[in-house]
Every structure is written in C-alpha cells, then in structure tokens.
C-alpha cells in the first residue's frame, strides 16, 4: 500500500517527478559518458598499440608509458636494434601532436607494412610520393575526406593517398622522412617498434635490449604497454572522475532535497492525515525515502538512456577526436551514486515531515 502511495504521489506531480529525475539523469549521463570516454580513449590507444604488430616498444630512457615527445631517439638505433638476437625487424616512428589528442605518425610505410602484415585499405592505397597521407576511417569520416584530395596538416599540404581501417598505429600516417624534415627532426624518431622472431621470448629480449641500450632507451613489452592503458594507472584521470562523481552526488542531493522539501511543505496536510490515521514518524520517513529512491532510480534509467544518446552523437560526429564506449560495468556504481545523492537529499525533508505536529498539519491550508 505504501508503495502504491509513493507511485501515485510521483504520478500526481509528474512534471516535478520528471524534471527531478531528468536532472539526476543528466548527472548520471555525465558520469557514464566521462567513464565511457576515458575507457574508450584508452582502449583505442591500446588497440592501436596492439595493431602495430610489434612485440616490444623502445622508448627514450626516462619517459613514462604515456609520454611520446617528438624525436628523442637517434634513428641510427634502428639498424643497431635489428642486429640484436631474436629481433626480426625494427621500425622507427616519429610522433607529432596535431590536435588535442590526435597525432600524426611518420614511419617508413613499406617497412611498417612488413612488420604488421600491411594496412587494410578501405579506399586508395599506399602513398607513392613524399607528401602522401594515410588516414584511418574515423578521421576520414569526421573530416569528410576522400582519397585524392589535399589535406593541410601542420601547415603542410598532404595528398590523401589512402583510407585505412582504424586501430593500427595512428589516425594519421605519413612517410617518416617528410615528417622529420617538416618538424626539424632529421635523423630522429620518437620510438622504435620491434618485432621478434620468437615472441615467446619477449621477456628475455626486453632484458637484453635494455642491457644493450643502457640508459638511452627502455624496452617495454607490448602487453605491458597495453596493460598500462587503464584508468587506474592515470592518477590525474582518477581524481577528475572522483571529482565529477562527487559533484554528481551533490547535484543529486540538491535536486532531491529541493523536490522533497517542497513536497513536504506542499503535502503538510496529507502528512497530517497520515499521522491522524496512525502513521508513525518512521513510516512518514519511509514514505519519503521510497519516493527519493524511485526518483533516483528513474534518474539512473534516464541517465543510462542519455549516455547511449551522448555516445551516438559523439561517435557519429567526432569519432576520430573522441572514442566513447558503453560501460555497463559502471551502471551499478552509477545507481549507487544516484541513490547516495537522493537518500542524502531526502533525510532532512523526511525528518521534518516525521516531526510534524499532526494537529498543525491538519489545519494547514
């Protein structure tokens, strides 16, 4: 019966119910989209690292996994690495940032094709000239690019030679020597991709390459690189997510507080009726808590729906800039976030209602 009263109360004031749930839902959508975006970008990066086909990454000595400064490794290391035991092939890659999170990679394209088995071309083919450019399908779709057209990147006009399937190395790939001269990094690369003859001996090769490169380069197994692409390994991102989560709880608290507070004031007489009929203070509290919980759950469901919409909008308009994935593993956490805010928000109005004097409440106009 109490549940029916809760549902009827929420239905009776459906505009307020909908707006309160919508605001909670928007916050839940923000959390889910933020998590989906963080995980999507990291997963995309991991996929691209995996898509290189390399077994080991060689990076400048004291860099973290996520740091790729342009041109810090002498290109002469590439033939030196190729001579090491168990190394089948080494390819130098120069990385240059062009947008916030998009980079252009310079690589010896035929050599790289041998290392990873070759790009899968959706349109066009390998560049036949120094200014040839390859872009992945997402970048092409986002920027409405067609093979054969000119594209200006880094104030340089490139000729779009091919559109490749995403998930390999980078979204923008150009010949290494052109990018080196364009960015003033002649003879330099940012990292070296290493393919082994026997990948089962990766750990051994990592130690060996570390030893021969001393402090100038550090070798990291590709699986270790991929495992590093996790929110837990990026403290700044974790803090940001925690701040957004906290703000979501606060907004949920404020929305439900306002909604419940006005509901209690508006329904003073009804609370008086319940008390006259023998409702104990805990029952009144229970009633308002249930309403708050239903609001939170409605908001949660709306939030999940909105998160799908946000993903659809992002992935259909800027798939190359931002990658969002569904995060159903975060739905229970999102429910907890919505519930925490709602329960906190319902406590004071609930206590106020529970303490209301029945006679005063019944005479309320």
């Amino acid at each position: 019966m109490l549940n029916r009263l809760v549902i009827e109360n929420l239905k009776y004031r459906w505009v307020r119910t909908f707006l309160s749930a919508l605001v909670v839902g928007v916050q839940i959508m923000l959390v889910l989209t933020l998590i989906g975006l963080s995980k999507g970008l990291l997963e995309e990066s991991a996929n691209r690292a995996r898509g290189t086909g390399a077994d080991i990454f060689l990076k400048p000595g004291k860099q973290g996994t996520f740091s790729f400064s342009t041109g810090q490794v002498d290109e002469k290391f590439v033939p030196f690495i190729e001579k090491q035991p168990n190394v089948q092939q080494a390819v130098g890659v120069l990385i240059q940032n062009v947008e916030l999170i998009t980079s252009i990679n310079g690589v010896d394209i035929p050599a790289f094709a041998r290392l990873n088995g070759g790009f899968h071309y959706i349109a066009g083919g390998p560049p036949k000239e120094p200014d040839g450019l390859l872009v992945d399908e997402y970048y092409a779709r986002q920027n409405h690019l067609k093979v054969g057209q000119d594209v200006t990147i880094l104030k340089h006009v490139w000729h779009l030679a091919g559109v490749i399937q995403g998930g390999v190395l980078a979204r923008l790939i150009v010949p290494l020597s052109t990018l080196q001269s364009l960015t003033g990094n002649a003879g330099k690369v940012s990292q070296i991709l290493v393919k082994l003859n026997d990948p089962s001996k990766t750990a051994q090769s990592v130690k060996q390459l570390d030893a021969v490169c001393q402090d100038q380069l550090q070798a990291i197994a590709i699986e270790d690189v991929i495992s590093q692409f996790s929110i837990d390994n990026i403290p700044q991102l974790k803090i940001f997510i925690n701040v957004v989560t906290f703000m979501t709880i606060m907004v949920g608290f404020l929305v439900v507080f306002l909604s419940m507070y006005t509901a209690v004031v508006e329904r003073t007489r009804e609370i008086g009726i319940l008390k006259a009929l023998g409702a104990k203070p805990m029952k009144i509290m229970d009633l308002l808590m249930r309403e708050a919980i239903v609001l939170a759950m409605l908001g949660w469901m709306i939030g999940i729906g909105l998160a799908f919409v946000a993903k659809l909008v992002i992935m259909s308009t800027i798939p190359a800039s931002l990658t969002v994935i569904d995060v159903p593993d975060w739905w229970p956490k999102a429910a907890l976030i919505a519930l925490s805010g709602a329960i906190l928000g319902a406590i004071y109005p609930g206590l106020r209602a529970a303490r209301q004097d029945a006679i005063e409440a019944l005479s309320y106009e």
């Binding site: 019966m1 009263l5 109360n9 009776y12 319940l274 006259a276 009929l277 023998g278 006679i359 019944l362």
Partner: protein, 219 residues
C-alpha cells in the same frame, strides 16, 4: 466507554498561557451518539484532539474502552489512532492521490490489519459508495468524499468514531444524508459516536447533546 475526569489542557502561546480545557467531566456510554456543541473557542476541538489521541492532556483522566490516555507516549497514542479511534473531519481529509478504495485500504495498512470486517460491504452499501470505490477524491462530490471518509474511519472497527463538523462543508441535502448515515451506523451496528458541531440541527440527530463553554462541558 469514555470517561473524562477533570481534564485540563493548557497551551503556551508566546508568554501567555491559554487554558483551553478547564476541568472537563464527561461520560459516553457504549453505543451512544453524543453531540458536542458550543461556540468557537469553547474547547470543542481541543477535546476532540485529546479524545482522538492527537494531543496529550495536561492533567485529568481520559479513559477510552478502559485505556487511560493520560500517561500515553506519542507512540502509544499513534497506536490508539490506528485501532481505537476513527476520525471524520470537516474537510474529508482524503489523500488526493489515492482512490476511495485505497484511502480505506491505507487506514488498514497503517494499522497492520489484514482482514475487513465481515459486514463492511453492507456498511459501504449503507454509505452508498460501493460503486464509487475506484474513483479518486477529485471525481467525487463533497457528500461522497465524506462518506468515503466515514468508511475509512470505520474499517478498523474503532471503539469510538470522532466526527469534527462532519457536515460543515456540505449542503443541506448532503448534510442530512451524512447525519442519517451516522445515525444508522449508531443504531444498526452500535457504533459509539462523538460528533462536534456548532449546528443545532445536526446535534438533533444525536442521542444526547453536551455543550462546551469556556473550556467546560455542560449537560
């Protein structure tokens, strides 16, 4: 059934102490229909609130069906309202979001009573609302709402039905219908009723009338 002895109730309004009841003595027999009349401020509503367990007496004894209200805690008075007393208010006081049936069900639910009185269907027929049970209060006339309120007050078979100006918001025809119903309930099922009214015509439906004046009851 009801024994009130030396009942006093004082309120503190700012720095002023208001004596609403000044030693009320009252007896209501089981199955009696008593009207309490009196001008505004005479203490009628205060007496109603105390008998209904909505307010605690300042001093004196109040016994309903052998239960003394004097030393009851808030929680005990809440239980008294669940089972011993049924209220009928001037403004009906139905919950607007629930149907007539659910308003009645809620009273049972709050008292944790699962079963309906065997003759409750007859009571609904007597009240003339059996076919209006699925309507919400806004779809009912004032007279129908008051009859639903009476059904709600009776569903837990209270020892005492307290009615506070039950016809105050009704036209003459509906007033007479409601008073007839109260009278019938009193005669047919022996329901003890204490009705507060300022209307002498309404009071005439009762077996006996007590007049409240200056916080005291006069036969």
């Amino acid at each position: 059934m009801i024994q009130v002895r030396g009942l006093r109730k004082t309120f503190q309004v700012g720095e002023v102490t208001v004596e609403a009841l000044r030693g009320v003595d009252l007896d209501v027999a089981h199955g009696e229909f008593l009207a309490v009349v009196g001008p505004s401020g005479s203490g009628k509503s205060t007496l109603f609130n105390i008998l209904g367990g909505l307010a605690a007496p300042t001093s004196g004894e109040v016994l309903i069906d052998g239960v003394n209200l004097r030393h009851m805690t808030e929680s005990q008075r809440t239980e008294l309202r669940q089972r011993k007393v049924g209220f009928v208010f001037q403004k009906y006081n139905l919950l607007p979001t629930l149907s007539a049936a659910d308003n009645i069900n809620l009273a049972q639910d709050l008292a944790s009573i699962k079963t309906r009185p065997a003759d409750f269907d007859q009571t609904l027929e007597l009240l003339g609302i059996k076919n209006r049970m699925h309507h919400k209060p806004r779809a009912l006339s004032g007279g129908e709402q008051q009859r639903v309120a009476i059904a709600r007050a009776l569903v837990n078979q209270p020892a005492l039905l307290l009615a506070d100006e039950p016809t105050g918001n009704l036209d003459t025809a509906n007033s007479n219908a409601v008073l007839d119903i109260l009278r019938s309930l009193n005669k047919r099922i022996g329901q003890t009723i204490l009705m507060i009214t300022h209307n002498p015509e309404a009071a005439a439906f009762a077996d006996r009338t007590v007049t409240m004046r200056d916080g005291q009851a006069h036969a």
